[in-house]
Symmetry: C2
DNA sequence: CCCCATCTACGAACCTTTTCGTTGACGATA
DNA sequence: TATCGTCAACGAAAAGGTTCGTAGATGGGG
């Protein structure tokens, strides 16, 4: 189904599959199913069905030149992550990514090393320094 | 329905209602419906139904002592936000809130003022300083 | 050339989410 | 007290998400 509506938010199951595709690169249904089986317990045809749905939604593209079709995520992991974050910011943080970030940081569980990494990123991003 | 399963992730529509409850405090169906009508276009009974579902799920509590029942969010906005962030971190960031934060910041669109606020928070949180 | 393993496609079943119409209770008022 | 507006409850319809059984195509090995 060709359609130029912006790519929709992936569902939970779809996201699980996308993560495998990002990790492994282009993969067959079998590949995805095997990788997924490590974590969850999903039937082969279930995975196939999802990939077909994801084709329709434009979440993945595929190469049909071989008998076993090869699927690939259409958008990069980063792009999808940003999309999901923007979406969550809209739905739960009044559209403010900054408030989202602050809440995420307040949730503690962030190591000192990570905090410093974030600090470095902050410096790279915007002006000021103490 | 009494049940002690941990509160489930609110759906989009449920979250929209929770936002109103957080903003207004305890409210009747009518209150919520009016506030919601400003943004979206939802019927009165639709809102009522959602609030009833949310009672079942444990997302809200209500006071039935008056004819018009008064609903209130069961969990604070912050707690819910943290929950949603933890969930998103799990589903899309390999369980790492730090990676989530970095991606959110890289998405730019954050003003210098906000960046400084975040920097301040960072200082308050963990050691180091340049 | 036939059979088996592997693959895609299709569609059904079931659950959740979203939406609202209808019904019946209740209280104020004319 | 008969009527009207407001309210909660219920149920059902429609759409979306999840899961898988079955059927049919295809290519390789005996």
């Amino acid at each position: 189904m060709k359609d130029n509506t912006p790519t929709p938010r992936p569902t939970d199951a779809e996201l699980a599959i996308l993560r495998i595709l990002w990790q492994r690169g282009p993969s067959t249904v079998r590949d995805v199913h095997e990788a997924l089986s490590a974590a969850q317990d999903t039937g082969y045809t279930t995975v196939l069905k999802f990939l077909q749905i994801m084709i329709d939604k434009g979440l993945v593209v595929r190469d049909e030149s071989e008998r076993a079709h090869v699927y690939e995520a259409r958008h990069s992991e980063q792009k999808t992550q940003r999309q999901l974050l923007a979406d969550l910011a809209d739905r739960a943080f009044g559209g403010s990514p900054a408030r989202l970030v602050m809440q995420a940081l307040s949730g503690r569980k962030t190591s000192t090393a990570e905090l410093n990494e974030i600090r470095a990123l902050l410096d790279r991003l915007g002006g000021e320094k103490k």
